[in-house]
Symmetry: C2
Subunit: 239 residues, 2 copies
Amino acid sequence: MIFRQFFDATSSTYTYLLASRPGGEALLIDPVKERLADYTTLIEQLELRLVHAIDTHTHADHVTALGDLRDATQCTTIMGERSRAECVSRRVGDGEILCVDGIELCALYTPGHTDESFSFVLGPVAPRAVFTGDALLIRGTGRTDFQGGDPARSWDSIANKLFRLPDDTTLYPGHDYKGWTASSIGEEKRFNPRLAGKTESEYIALMNNLNLPTPKMMDIAVPANLACGQPAAAARPQG
Amino acid sequence: MIFRQFFDATSSTYTYLLASRPGGEALLIDPVKERLADYTTLIEQLELRLVHAIDTHTHADHVTALGDLRDATQCTTIMGERSRAECVSRRVGDGEILCVDGIELCALYTPGHTDESFSFVLGPVAPRAVFTGDALLIRGTGRTDFQGGDPARSWDSIANKLFRLPDDTTLYPGHDYKGWTASSIGEEKRFNPRLAGKTESEYIALMNNLNLPTPKMMDIAVPANLACGQPAAAARPQG
């Protein structure tokens, strides 16, 4: 399998490229608009055909490359079924499986950071991994104070969905801010400081008192991402 | 196998942690002094025993954590046999194999970036990978204008050693400056702009005309690294 993790230093975002073989079909998870050339260059060099570009949720800290990738490669643009981005061409439901050239990704509805966040579980044949977006981070969790965020739903998604994956499932998050690139479900159960040894009510109190500033990019990123990263194109008269 | 890649954003350095299993022995490649707590925290959480801390070469852009890791864990500190760092406790020669709990790393003398640079090849049972330090980067190569650097030796190390590894060998470099985390030997053969389709003399001319500024950290990092990252300790009277 071809697996690549890209890091966008501006927003500390991880993007993932998966393909089963050189010359085969590929998918991207959480691509960043400003890094479009990186993805298209590597896809061309490996002679891949991008079939799916997926956003785990409507990002507030960077603009998605979904629309630009669709224009460049004719790929399907995918989000979860609760997404408000009318531009996406496929909406997946909880438990739905995306197949790409032998790679299976199972969509898992994991709201809490936003009300429309999905994770994607790789398996069952490949080394098991989960791409969590901002639902679960390495030793952290995504904030729950905007876009329908809800700490109780975040707790439920983590405790009752993500933490029911096998402990040795590799965790690939949507961000990391201190240079860690992966973890595992077992590690986060034991060592995530917001979760390990905490009750649901303690977690909710903690998340409700983070007092984080609004993301710098939010007023630009959210409307842009609801147009798949192409707000100008969306605003143009159709016809 | 446990495999973790860490990124130090200040120097764009990648550090690698390898272990065969939770609770077993581990090794680190190119650890950064300022990130010591990250390594020791994860090692403790995974109940690993660090047995080797390895520097691929004497870094000029960041200070190594080798000495601090030795003090914290009693690990062996390892560099190639041409290293001028008197503090290291083991010097490996070309072709020498380091074994850690079933993981085999073969030392490969790959001078050119410096005259004492080694790469380390993971295999033969595990998914094959090579940790190249600055000998070969993703779509680039380490500069050759200080510390005994030599573009002809860099060409020889890449063309006649690293490029003789199987094409599907994963390349884990010592740095990346644009957010790419891995490549493969086959990819670099075909797409490294300094190497693909180039002759040795073209490569040498290119490397001799990079006109790069001296690394900001060089006057601090090189003497510090010759003391395993503990210049003050080295300066203290012994006995």
